[in-house]
Amino acid sequence: MIAELGLALLWIAAALACLSLIAGIVVLRGGPKDVAGLVRPASVAQGVLTAAAFALLIALFVRSDMSVELVARNSHSLKPMLFKVAGAWGNHEGSMLLWLTILGLSGGLVALFEKRLRADTLIATLAAQAALSLGFFAFLLFSSNPFKRLPIAPPDGQGLNPLLQDPGLAFHPPTLYIGYVGLSVAFSFAVGALVTREIGPAFARAMRPWVLGSWIFLTLGITAGSYWAYYELGWGGWWFWDPVENVSLVPWLAGAALLHSVAVTATRNALRAWTVMLAVIGFSMSMVGTFIVRSGLLTSVHSFAVDPERGTFLLVLMLVYIGGALTLFAFRASAVAEGKQFALLSREGSLVINNLLLTTILALVLLGTLYPIVAEAMGEKISVGPPYYNKVAGPLALILCLVMVAGPLLRWRRDDGRTLWARLPLALLAGATVLFGLILFGGPIGILPLLGMTVAAVVAVASLAPLWKRKLRRVPLPTWGMVIAHFGVAVALAGMAAESAFIKERLVAAAPGETVKVADFTVKFARVEPVAGPNYTAVRATLVATTPSGSSFILHPAARTFPGLMGGAPTETNEAALLTRPGGQLYAVLGQPVPSADGSADRYQLRLWWKPLVWWIWLGGALIAMGGTLALLGRAQLLAIWRARRARKAQMRFAP
């Protein structure tokens, strides 16, 4: 019954989305005003019902109801509970339902809490959000029904894939999804504002917290995903410029650009058309990314069954939404003056350069990801990988960081060079110290890591400058947020640059009892032993790493073998062992046994890396997300103050 109820809820939710859309259109066309009262409740109810359907899907997975095809294909009664729950979104249909749930809940939240927007713009926004939901409801109900029953229930499910059973992996997709789909709110705001031609500071202020919220989740999701790849893939890489990583980065870049341009629109009523444009691009890029992943468009093999029909369906949806929004933009934005103008050397000026660089990087990442298709159409098969992105995006990112140094120190409207210069000596001194220190004592370093560490030092010091000579308790939360997020960028940049400049690698075939040196560590390969896990067998090594100061640490890298699923070949995974030290991480992997010619004591492949400051990368990511959170809290607070003041003013005006 649960599955049937879930399906029924989805149909009702779809009907409610349809209702919101039609009611919205009727109101905006000047129809009867009382219809307007339907839109908010319908949006809230649609969100609640979709969420309920998703909860029912999770319940089906928890109960291991194998009569439902999705559960039978993706779960198993013996799976640990956490992975049963995560199994609900670890497949195409379930993740599309999660997508719809977030879409519906975002719309519901806007309907409940958004009180600043003009009434007609709000209705247009909710109608746009409902239109988005409607298309994805159609996609789900007509081509990917998650509640489909099997005629005969199998005795147990097929989904016991050990590789998918990782706690980090269980929560990574929902985090990213909240970010991606959260951007739909900005998209709908933009469409709503274009429809009612209300684009100004009030609109920007209303949109800002939603953008900030989804961008925080995107930041967290990408940071966590990078760490997961780092420890799970067993080669110590933290970013591969793989097509899938790239399509996750593109919405983040759009969100970052939007976050900064919306500040200009909210504060100075400038860059209006551009902000609307970015709001449309953000969610468009989320959809493009999903399309690329689901349609199997690029040769990054993924775990979803590739289905050309689904790809075509998504393409048509995207064509309608993105095409529709951009057409609306083309016709309406000409009526939107770009708003107030300003000098290059001003806060706005720096934010414009920020946006210029972020969108250029975005465009380059997208181009690089899709270019192999273009080249193939021209008859050449090429690969675009890290060397390209490092060459083209690296320098732009460094310039962006320098703009980030200057921007927060500039005043709005106009500033002059001398005052900026006067605020910078400490930061420039820090940068010069690092640069000369590295040139003199750092040994041979690539130009990009060298500049990276230098710029990181400048940014780290300069990012704190807005706090200089201020009473820290009176610094507003959004300023704190900005300072911490910018400082986080410096931390992450320093981590990336230091890791690539000073990494030490040691690959050896060692027998138990032997000692290996890597960087300052003496690593003793103490022993190997077989270990049995719940559903795997493993060979586990014990390594004792000793620092120059004499303290010892134990690491247990392991190689696991999972029995083949349904008679298939066994699967092997490497469990890296990490030792985190203040200066970086020691990363150890146990590889294959090496048979020696005379059959004597077994030797094993050991891969050891010393990765200086590598954990700063994810610390930086966490700081950026934390800065975003503070800014979000601050915005909410500011709004409360602003509203209270307006209420007081209104009272005074009506006072006798």
Binding site: L319, F329, I373
Partner: protein, 176 residues
């Protein structure tokens, strides 16, 4: 507004993007990496015998005036078993076939030949895939058509099917 057309630029960019998507949906990505080392002489190599009783293979063996096949295979490669009957058929039609065994052990190669028959005149053992890499080959099985002067004329990726056999014979015939 002078520059109103610029507002249509995003729409145009989207159209380009969708053009690329449509192209890829209609022409799916083929994941085979074809060798570019075609119409070029066989790289120089001298491989030891892959198993007792069958001679090893060196590049000079391949320029004896007779067009031939060089089959890149391995005993651990399951599709290679499926290809064995077709190689036998080619052999029976008088096509000389040499083999290169990739990352293989003599015992395993011997067992493979016992089970699937031996259509090979010579089999070189390529334990570090170095000849495979020099040929631009990216998997097993693969078959190269070599003309009498030792020039590589064609690469066939994957299993040779029964339907392919007459065509291969005809193309080798044409090289004479």
């Amino acid at each position: 507004m002078k520059r109103r057309w610029i507002l249509f630029a995003p729409l145009a960019i989207m159209a380009l993007l969708f053009g690329a998507f449509l192209y890829r949906l209609s022409v799916p990505d083929d994941r085979l990496i074809e060798s570019q080392w075609i119409d070029k002489p066989m790289p120089l190599f001298d491989l030891p015998p892959a198993t007792a009783g069958v001679a090893g293979l060196k590049s000079s063996d391949l320029a004896d005036g007779r067009p031939r096949l060089v089959n890149v295979f391995a005993s651990w490669c399951i599709p290679c078993r499926a290809e064995a009957p077709q190689l036998e058929a080619l052999k029976a039609a008088g096509v000389p076939i040499d083999g290169i065994a990739i990352r293989d052990r003599p015992d395993d190669v011997a067992a493979f030949l016992r089970e699937n028959g031996n259509p090979f005149d010579r089999i070189g053992s390529d334990v570090q895939s170095s000849v495979q890499i020099a040929l631009g080959s990216s998997g097993v099985p693969e078959t190269f058509l070599i003309d009498g002067k030792g020039i590589i004329r064609e690469q066939i990726q994957g299993v040779i099917l029964a339907d392919d056999v007459p065509g291969i014979i005809a193309r080798l015939e044409a090289m004479k």
